[in-house]
């Protein structure tokens, strides 16, 4: 329980909760425990199009010039110096222009351009909503990654998954509200899923990506026989009830007693939700979970769908490592082959289940890559213009929004900064990014700080 000033009178304060504690043990203690007490807005103030988010994060910065953003002039002038003024700050002196080694075609009724590296994503292009004019503020992995996840490349701030859980609360009391599967420990690490100054229960739960396998910390009992644990918990309940009886009603002690029952339920439910072994072969095939090199990422995407379906608000899956300063041809071909089918499979699967309606899928890296070469076969980081795409959750399918310049360096038409992206995601979830605030250190903080505009052009 915290004693901080609460951000809005809509909250059920601790005081109110304690005063009502006479209402009896059970529901009230459980509510407090589940974090319903400090959810910011109940109910959301705008009509929500999406109820949950799946973020497919491409760590390292994929070259969207080679995936989604064909540039005929770049190819024509291959090997020549960049004819436009480059950015004020660069990591390394830019080389000459490097035309994409891959061919592009337009796909579907929407005519979305997708390169030959991504045939499966190309086949569902009409379900996607492309933003071809993304930009951010930082040219380094850590800075850009944190800016994408938290809105700040300067300070420690809550991640968007935490904000969303703070804003919307839980859909399933037996599961964490924010799960990140196999995240990167570097370039921000837990900063990308931390709740920072928001209450700890809104922090992301990491599955994999650190020590141990792909599981929630301490979710498995080391006991050989699960019924032994039930006996332990019964004994514990007896000691705790005696203790409580001597002290009289106390919501905190009661919450803690309830927390063991909730943990016991989580322990039963989480591994089941996570277990993809029971999925039919046709589904495994759809994601590419049956073969290499798609298997590993496909399994994680499948797990993401199962969590999402079970009510986890924000699920993130990370695919890495797209940082092709050299060996672009080899590495981007390999990475695309690992990622393409699982992503297309996930979106198709959500669609066939009717889940895409209210599930927002976001695909993107922390930045794109330069149209100029690094060495003979590489590209440097480019935060100034790149592509991300969304699907479902109230976005307009088949949209091609914004554009970069003729060489693909800068977002030129309708630039969309991460702050705008965040404002738009919150909007789709039914929240006004200027009203979702939390008071900390003397200020009402927002995911979008003092920035952000909803990108109306991509809304359905």
């Amino acid at each position: 329980m915290n004693h901080r000033p609460v951000p809005t009178p809509l909250l059920l304060t601790r005081r109110a909760m304690l005063q009502r504690a006479g209402a009896g043990f059970g529901a009230l203690a459980l509510n407090a425990l589940l974090g319903r007490e400090a959810t910011a807005l109940t109910p959301p103030r705008l009509p929500a199009r999406a109820k949950r988010v799946i973020f497919l994060f491409m760590h390292g910065g994929p070259s969207t010039l080679d995936l989604f953003d064909p540039k005929p002039l770049l190819r024509r002038d291959n090997g020549k110096p960049l004819p436009i003024t480059g950015p004020r700050i660069v990591s390394a002196a830019p080389g000459n222009l490097l035309g994409s080694p891959w061919e592009f075609q337009q796909h579907g009724a929407s005519g979305a351009s997708v390169s030959t590296l991504l045939p499966n994503i190309a086949s569902i292009a009409d379900d996607l909503c492309f933003i071809r004019s993304m930009r951010c503020s930082n040219s380094r992995h850590g800075g850009a990654l944190l800016e994408l996840h938290t809105g700040s490349d300067t300070f420690t701030r809550p991640s968007m998954g935490s904000w969303i859980n703070y804003g919307l609360g839980s859909e399933n009391d037996n599961l964490p509200g924010f799960i990140t599967i196999n995240p990167s420990g570097s370039h921000g690490g837990a900063g990308a899923w931390s709740s920072a100054f928001l209450p700890a229960r809104f922090s992301g739960t990491r599955i994999g990506g650190g020590a141990g396998g792909l599981h929630v910390p301490f979710i498995h009992s080391p006991l050989a026989n699960p019924s032994d644990q039930r006996r332990e918990l019964d004994l514990l309940a007896a000691f705790n009830q005696d203790h409580l009886a001597q002290r009289g009603p106390d919501p905190e002690l009661e919450s803690r007693i309830a927390s063991y029952e909730l943990a016991f339920r989580m322990q039963r439910e989480v591994p089941g939700v996570q277990d993809i072994s029971g999925e039919p072969d046709s589904i495994k095939k759809l994601y590419g979970a049956d073969v290499d090199p798609t298997r590993s990422f496909a399994e994680q995407c499948l797990m993401a769908r199962r969590f999402s379906e079970a009510g986890v608000r924000f699920v993130q899956v990370t695919h890495r490592y797209w940082d092709s300063h050299g060996d672009l041809r080899r590495d981007h071909a390999r990475l695309a082959a690992e990622m393409d089918k699982p992503v297309a499979g996930l979106i198709s699967d959500l669609k066939q289940r009717g889940l895409l309606e209210d599930t927002l899928v976001l695909w993107g890296g922390e930045f794109g890559r330069t149209p100029t070469a690094q060495g003979k076969d590489g590209r440097d980081h480019n935060p100034h213009g790149f592509t991300m795409f969304m699907a479902g959750g109230g976005t307009r399918a088949g949209t091609q929004f914004g554009a970069t310049d003729d060489f693909g360096y800068f977002a030129q038409e309708n630039p969309v900064h991460y702050h705008d992206l965040h404002a738009t995601i919150l909007h789709l979830l039914g929240m006004d990014h200027e009203k979702l605030t939390y008071r900390y250190a003397g200020r009402d903080f927002r995911l979008t700080d003092v920035h952000g505009e909803v990108v109306k052009g991509i809304l359905a």
Binding site: G142, T156, G189, A200, R201, P217, F218, L235, R247
Partner: protein
């Protein structure tokens, strides 16, 4: 620029200054009259009692001695008393048994380990940078050990402030003192920084900003960082005030290398003869490596180097800032360093330090002047802020419930006269924190029972009146240390580093489970930013990238999972079962249950508990008795009686 030319700065907030309670001079209030007069034991009790009476209530009765001794150990040491320690106090019939116990607890080095950790929350202490490049902080642990030592020595708090902000600018009577003062500078250096940035200008400003923000909130409870982009919206701090301070920190060097990956400044603190010896070896090494050196000479050099290097201690470098050529900072319009406004001379905030300020020295940054002003008895904020922190760490909530924010958006004190009483007392006692502990621990307020007088809980659910003791869950470190101690596994050695990664190398979060296995006090486990121990995080160990003077105490199911399933709890419960069985070869099951309860709760078992324990043990298979005792130990570790400090 003349000082007078910016006197109009901050005008818009002058009304704020006039009304903001925390900026008024500290007033030593007379003690309120108290009735019944026999309740107060310390001056502070008069203030507490007056409010309780005013609300029409009475204080709770005193807690029994058994409860008090456990509470005192957990509060001051973060460890429960052993059976012997409990027994020694219970059998001490001298009239001054209680003050003697408090003195002994304050004299023990366990005190600095517990209370130094509180300060480390405020100092956002970590052994790794976090942020974009999670590399190890070289030798940051020396700052941690400095803090523990400062608490143990009861270093005057004004001196503690000055050393942390300007230890490099203070005279030193001995090499040891110099080393200690330089180590204190870790406070400014251990903040989180973006180390891979292609723009050194942005880095320098962001680092200065983090230092201003931390210094302001840690010592003054003021969110000075808010004025980076505009005049503070709520507190009387103008953007010019901010850039007056920014000049001080911009005239301070935190990094030695700004290009990717940046490196932090370190002070070499070894004594000069050792440094000379190392230099000599390095130069001989160079000679030896030269191509033209004849082979026989090389062999000779080799022997010489080996003999010089034998048992030679390594050089010690500590993380800390240093001076940089002085510069004033211009106002950054909307915080943007690409759109600069008027230059502001380095200076202190006007509303706090007044318009009549001596100009900052031309040849040094002004950190020393800043530190001395913060630590001055006339500063209305400093003594109040630290006195409130001490109260917060004893009672779980500050007299000012927002310990890091004494501004308009903070919460005003529930007991303003009491806060000023402590602030006055602190300055009068030469900034001795132990003097405050003695008054608090000696008070009737602190010694109350958790069982409130009738009507109090309903009327005052948050215990703002302090008319009872509010039980609190153990913090993450206290829980882990207590489990280790109760199972006989705690290694009590002090200080040093467990970090197994070279200076400035990327930390490996995969190592955390290995570190956690070490049975040292939790304080000594390496603290990594952007990561952390799953078990400690579940129990609200704060994010070490942000200052946290008011740790949360949440109740969430991952805590239950940790107590049910974690390796630490399972290993410790097995160890405790082993202790029990070897200590009680001839006891009955019922007496063993009683032993366990006495060992963990320092009280006798009830008949019902004996029966319950017996039934649990009897239902275990004959070859599973040890496992059943371990299970019972686990149950008791997870119980509310163990987890809550009453």
């Amino acid at each position: 620029m003349l000082l007078t030319s910016f006197l109009h700065a901050g005008e818009s907030n002058e009304s704020g200054a006039a009304s903001l309670w925390s900026l008024q001079p500290v007033k030593a209030a007379a003690l309120p009259a108290a009735a019944p007069p026999d309740w107060p034991l310390q001056p502070m009790d008069y203030f507490i009692l007056a409010k309780i009476r005013e609300a029409g209530h009475t204080p709770a009765p005193p807690a029994d001695r058994r409860t008090l001794v456990r509470r005192a150990y957990l509060d001051l040491h973060g460890l429960p008393p052993t059976e012997e320690q409990t027994g020694a106090f219970l059998h001490d019939e001298r009239l001054d048994a209680w003050p003697r116990l408090i003195d002994a607890l304050l004299d023990s080095p366990r005190y600095g380990e517990r209370w130094g950790r509180h300060w480390l929350d405020v100092a956002r202490y970590a052994d790794s940078n976090g942020m974009d490049e999670n590399i190890s902080h070289p030798e940051a642990w020396r700052y941690r050990d400095y803090v523990v030592d400062a608490f143990n020595r009861d270093k005057p708090f004004d001196q503690f402030i000055t050393e942390q902000l300007a230890g490099d600018l203070l005279p030193a009577a001995s090499p040891e003192q110099r080393q200690s003062q330089l180590t204190a500078l870790g406070f400014l250096s251990v903040g989180p920084k973006m180390l891979a940035c292609d723009d050194p200008d942005k880095m320098r400003r962001d680092i200065a900003d983090e230092q201003i923000d931390t210094t302001g909130r840690a010592f003054l409870g003021m969110t000075l960082g808010c004025a980076r982009c505009h005049d503070h919206k709520f507190d009387p701090i103008s953007a010019k005030d901010y850039y007056g301070l920014a000049g001080i920190f911009m005239s301070t060097r935190t990094l030695t290398k700004y290009n990717v990956v940046a490196e932090m400044h370190e002070h070499l603190v070894s004594n000069p003869s050792l440094v000379a010896r190392h230099q000599q070896i390095a130069s001989l090494q160079q000679d030896k490596n030269r191509k033209e050196t004849p082979e026989e000479e090389k062999a000779c050099l080799e022997t010489l180097i080996a003999s010089l290097g034998r048992e030679l201690p390594p050089l010690v470098k500590v993380l800390g800032v240093t001076e940089s050529p002085t510069e004033d900072a211009p106002v950054h319009l909307r915080g943007n360093y690409l759109t600069l406004g008027e230059m502001v001379p380095r200076r202190l905030p006007l509303v706090l330090a007044g318009p009549q300020q001596a100009p900052m020295p031309k040849t040094s940054s002004g950190r020393l002047e800043l530190a001395r002003w913060i630590g001055s008895p006339d500063n209305p904020l400093t003594a109040r802020v630290i006195a409130n922190r001490i109260w917060r760490w004893h009672f779980g909530r500050g007299l000012v419930p927002t310990p890091d924010n004494f501004g308009q958006l903070g919460v005003p004190p529930t007991h303003p006269e009491l806060l000023d009483h402590f602030a006055t007392r602190l300055v009068q006692s030469h900034w001795s924190l132990k003097a405050l502990h003695r008054e608090i621990m000696g008070s009737a307020t602190w010694q109350q029972s958790a069982a409130a007088s009738p009507g109090v809980k309903q009327a005052d659910p948050e215990n703002q009146l302090y008319a009872r003791w509010q039980p609190r869950r153990m913090e993450a470190e206290v829980l882990r240390d207590s489990i280790l101690m109760a199972s006989g596994r705690l290694d009590p050695s002090m200080g040093g580093s467990l970090l197994e990664v070279a200076a400035k190398q990327y930390v490996d979060i995969g190592m955390l489970p290995e570190y956690e296995k070490k049975p040292r006090r939790t304080l000594y486990l390496p603290v990594f930013r952007s990561s952390g121990y799953d078990g400690l995080n579940a129990f609200d160990f704060p994010d070490p990238a942000v200052i946290e003077g008011d740790r949360r105490s949440s109740t969430v199911s991952p805590q239950a999972l940790y107590l049910m399933n974690s390796p630490l709890v399972h290993q410790s419960s097995s160890a405790l079962a082993g202790l029990l069985l070897s200590a009680t070869p001839d006891l009955s099951t019922s007496d063993r249950v009683a032993w366990l309860i006495r060992h963990l709760f320092a009280r006798e078992a009830t008949p019902a508990e004996r029966l319950r324990g017996e039934a649990f043990l009897d239902s275990a298979p004959p070859d599973g008795k040890a496992a059943a005792w371990a299970a019972m130990a686990r149950v008791l570790f997870a119980s509310n009686e163990f987890l809550y400090i009453e």
